[in-house]
Amino acid sequence: MDRFLFTFFNGEVMWEYLPKILSGMWVTTYLAAFVIATGLALGLLLAVLRSTLSQKMPAPLSWLAEALRLLIIFFVDVMRSVPPLVLIVLFFYGLPALGLDIAGLGATWLALSLVLAAFAEEIYWAGLIAVAKGQWEAARSTGLGFLQTLIYVVLPQAIRLTVPPLTNRTIAITKGTALGQVVAVQEILYQAYSGLSFSSNPSPLTLGALAYLVLFLPVVVAGRWIETRFAWRR
């Protein structure tokens, strides 16, 4: 038992690495915040674009729209298939080769944002599809345009439907910030892992796990609260 405590809950080691873990928490927090912001926004934009492109239009325009629509679907399917870690590594090493200088932090942000956007697009899209056709017809029959109907009538209903699955997906992706470790993003896991290497003691990892709990448990609880709040008030 003493041996276990010495290994995993070594107070001395923990105290020594606490500042590092705290700075890691800060990095994880703002990285996650940026990923959520860009991912959810881009996902919504893609879903709205896909919906717009699915409209009936005259012939030459309709081909362009169909091509763009397929492009969105292709992007979404690829981003949902590739492991985020692969994307992070790919961007980190690949983009500089293309002349685009990108730091580990940038690569991680970009990769996770794109993956979240892809999943979010599918969720928003499912929400848009789930809104009854009669809602479109009612709004259009009063003279509202396509975008007005989408923004004021259909999206508010669709977003309500999407809050629970979006919350889950968002939590999953923000935990993915730990993957930034492989490209030297100095987030929680990176700090914990280097602490482990320097001290030859895994206690910094325990501290890291606690840091994740402190950060994400409130998010999970808030997610549950949001889900109940957004349940239909009929």
Binding site: K56, E137, A138, A139, R140, S141, T142, G143, L144, Q157
Partner: protein
């Protein structure tokens, strides 16, 4: 009743096909100002499709439709402006569930008619009062009965001061005891001289309130005339068969 008066709705040679299925096979129909016409017929006869072509919720395959003198099928026509002058009431109400009754009624006033907020609220409240629901302005659709929801939907259409209101089976989704309140609103509307085209199975109401009854079958208008003629002394065998079948169920 429907004496002189210009045509609010003028439909000629209207055809509509879904793929290879021809649903409307040449409809010619004209509706005068202040007239209330009832469209009846067996299911699948094309009644609803006909109605939905009149505001281009369905795109006609060929033919012409004029509403209040405007060719609504003309290329480049502002369809949203056209639709503001054509009210539509649906079988399933289609109220916006995330908005209050007043919100439902004022949305198009604000966004499509570009009224100021104060003006929209005033018109909206007046429209709700017309259907007897002024006291439900702040209620969400989920808090209203089916009959009340349909009356809000009618108010939503009326608020835009349309030239004509299309009713697509407005009472079919209602419990029998709630039908009366909606029919009463339609009766009141008729008193004010609103032009109405109604697809419905409420034959008693048609008998009492319609200026004209139109019998459709297989995508064509088989017969039309005053209710006493179509119900009492139908000229066509198909109309006779339909009326007999309906009356048999009463």
């Amino acid at each position: 009743m429907a004496a002189a008066g210009r045509h609010i709705l003028d439909v000629r040679g209207l055809h509509k096909s879904f793929g290879t299925l021809a649903v409307l096979k040449g409809i010619d129909f004209r509706l005068r100002e202040r007239e209330l016409a009832f469209v009846i017929g067996p299911s699948g006869s094309g009644k609803s499709t006909f109605l939905r072509c009149c505001n281009r919720l369905e795109e006609p395959t060929s033919g012409s439709i004029h509403v209040d003198g405007t060719d609504i099928l003309a290329p480049g026509v502002d369809i949203n402006a056209v639709r503001r002058r054509i009210g539509m009431v649906f079988q399933s109400f289609n109220l916006y569930p995330h908005m209050t009754a007043l919100g439902n009624v004022t949305l198009a006033l604000r966004l499509a008619s570009r009224k100021s907020k104060a003006e929209a609220l005033e018109i909206g409240r007046a429209a709700l009062a017309r259907v007897g629901l002024a006291h439900k302005a702040q209620a969400h659709p989920g808090e209203l009965s089916g009959g009340q929801q349909q009356r809000v939907a009618i108010a939503r259409a009326l608020a835009l001061e349309p030239k004509i209101v299309l009713f697509d089976e407005p009472t079919s989704a209602l419990d029998p005891e709630l039908v009366g309140s909606v029919l009463q609103v339609m009766r009141d509307l008729r008193e004010t001289g609103m032009t109405m085209l109604v697809v419905s199975h409420e034959l008693q109401f048609a008998r009492a309130a319609a200026d004209r009854v139109v019998f459709m079958e297989d995508g064509v208008i088989v017969e039309q005339g005053p209710p006493e003629q179509v119900f009492g002394a139908p000229q066509q065998a198909r109309t006779r068969a339909f009326v007999a079948r309906i009356d048999g169920h009463r």
